[in-house]
Amino acid sequence: MAKPSQVQDEELRGLIVAARAAYLDDRNLESVEKSVAAFRGLLQRQPDFLSAGPFAGNNRRVFPQLGVALKSANGGQPEIVFERQQFSNPEAITFYEYVSDCLVAAKL
């Protein structure tokens, strides 16, 4: 059960708290940007998160395919690309929930 207060990494907690504040205020693009920035931070800290982390294998959770693409790169870290600059509130919430769960599962 992921909540911002459960994220220990100060920088990542700040991003996810900001993502929540933004979606609550209907600043949806900003919210998605903050959530994605937190996810990038997770991948920097744990480069094998997607391949061997707690959401790999039987517990795999799929990155939301809602205007932001997670593209795998040969041998390197996956690239995260914004495909548009407009997001709805449900989309912002979806990214927030996904990234929050990932951060808590990664014990960051």
């Binding site: 059960m1 609550l24 790999a56 294998g57 039987n58 795999r60 959770r61 799929v62 939301p64 395919q65 809602l66 205007g67 495909e83 548009r84 407009q86 997001f87 709805s88 509130n89 449900p90 989309e91 919430i93 979806t94 929930e97 996904y98 769960d101």
Partner: protein, 402 residues
């Protein structure tokens, strides 16, 4: 816990023929109506019927409002659920959805549950030229506007990203006020949490384990209290999940009668979703592929791991024996684990694959007589007061039928 039946109207082609028998589509609809009539008489709370398009053999239920209207004339009490209506406007214009849902509510004397969703398969999204990347936006905009159409006199009109409509009074209005209880199909955890924030019921298609359900339900109710901004004029706070069921006097009988159907359920839905091969409209024979693949698999070691992909994992679970293909005692013990997690409703897929009508009828009857009553009794005595505690301080109009 409350109970429902869930219908895809599955229709496998006969193994030795390249197409269905001429009477098969009529037969499967009338068998469903008989099953729903029996379920109503025995005290089931809900029947949900899907809307799917172009998914041959997997689902011949493209006009559920027609079948549910027929069911309404053969039943007295059971709630009639769309499970779900495709909300992208290219599939159903929101005004037409508002009209149909309201009319069904009038025909059924106020028994409609309004399930909503985005559509998921490539066959359906592609068939209506819906961009997968935008389907959640389409769902939200169309659902919000549809609910306004159902309540406003007149509807003020809308100039949005996916819907433009001038001022009109959308009629008729539903019997249930302000509108029927609203649900969303939730195959991902994120959607369950979105449902809480929008004040609508979660119709779970993730085939969640009791442990997963417990975690989701706890967080769902926290969010109802903390962040709910209703999408409609009334909230429907509720968490349900869908599972395949076959109840028989012994576990062995239940597996013999029900496992193959559950496996076809997941096999046929997975078809067309990568990594499975794409569908070939008008030419596929999924049932033959399914039977042949099972014969091949018998010679191979069983899969010891669930699929990695979330969607594939749900399908895999749907095709397993799970907790609800067994004797009354087996099903009862497994249901208790969901009851302990405070699940509001368990919705059973009874008709699927090559299951036989008379065996489905017997399964519905045995479950209703041997298992259901104690859970319904505890729902009134324990779950309902628990729900009231979760809603303490929540001031939105609540029209949930849980």
């Amino acid at each position: 816990m409350k109970f429902g039946l869930f219908y895809e109207l599955q229709l496998p082609k006969p193994y030795d023929c390249d197409t269905w028998n001429p009477d098969d589509e009529r037969r499967i609809i009338h068998e469903m109506l008989e099953q729903v009539e029996l379920a109503d008489r025995l005290g089931f709370d809900y029947v949900f019927e899907v809307e799917h398009h172009f998914l041959e053999e997997y689902s011949h239920s493209s006009a559920p409002e027609v079948v549910l209207a027929a069911a309404s004339q053969r039943t007295k009490r059971i709630r009639l659920g769309h499970g779900i209506v495709h909300m992208p406007p290219g599939h159903n214009h929101p005004a037409r959805t508002a009209e149909r849902v309201a009319t069904l509510d009038l025909v059924s004397n106020g028994r409609v549950e309004f399930g909503t969703g985005e559509g998921a398969s490539d066959m359906e999204l592609g068939g209506f030229n819906t961009d997968r990347g935008f389907k959640k936006q389409m769902w939200e905009e169309s659902t919000r506007e549809c609910l306004r159409m159902m309540t406003a006199e007149p509807y003020a009109g809308h100039d949005g990203q996916f819907l433009r409509m001038p001022v009109r009074n959308v009629i008729p209005k539903s019997l249930q006020k302000p509108h029927p209880p609203v649900w969303v199909a939730a195959s991902r955890r994120e959607t369950v949490m979105l449902a809480a924030r929008l004040g609508i019921g979660s119709l779970g298609f993730g085939f969640e384990t009791p442990e997963e359900a417990a975690e989701r339900i706890e967080r769902y109710w926290e969010l109802v209290q903390e962040e709910c901004r209703p999408i409609g004029a009334a909230i429907n706070p509720a968490v349900s999940t869908v599972a395949t069921m076959m109840c028989a006097p012994t576990d062995e009988q239940a597996v013999a009668q029900g496992l193959s159907g559950a496996q076809f359920f997941s096999f046929s839905l997975g078809r067309g979703t990568p990594p499975d091969p794409p569908r070939n409209p008008g030419h596929d024979h999924l049932y033959r592929e399914f039977v042949d693949s099972r014969r091949e698999k018998r010679a191979k070691p069983a899969r010891d791991q669930e699929p990695e992909d979330e969607g594939q994992r749900a399908l895999y679970r749907a095709g397993q024996r799970g907790g609800f293909i067994g004797s009354p005692a087996f099903i009862r013990e497994n249901l208790k684990r969901y009851e302990a997690a405070h699940l509001d409703a368990m919705i059973f897929v009874a008709q699927c694959g090559d299951r036989k009508h008379d065996e489905i009828m017997a399964s519905i009857e045995l479950f209703a007589k041997e298992v259901m009553p104690e859970f319904q009794e505890r729902h009134e005595r324990m779950q309902r007061p628990w729900r009231e505690r979760q809603l303490d301080g929540v001031t939105f109009l609540n029209n949930s039928t849980i």
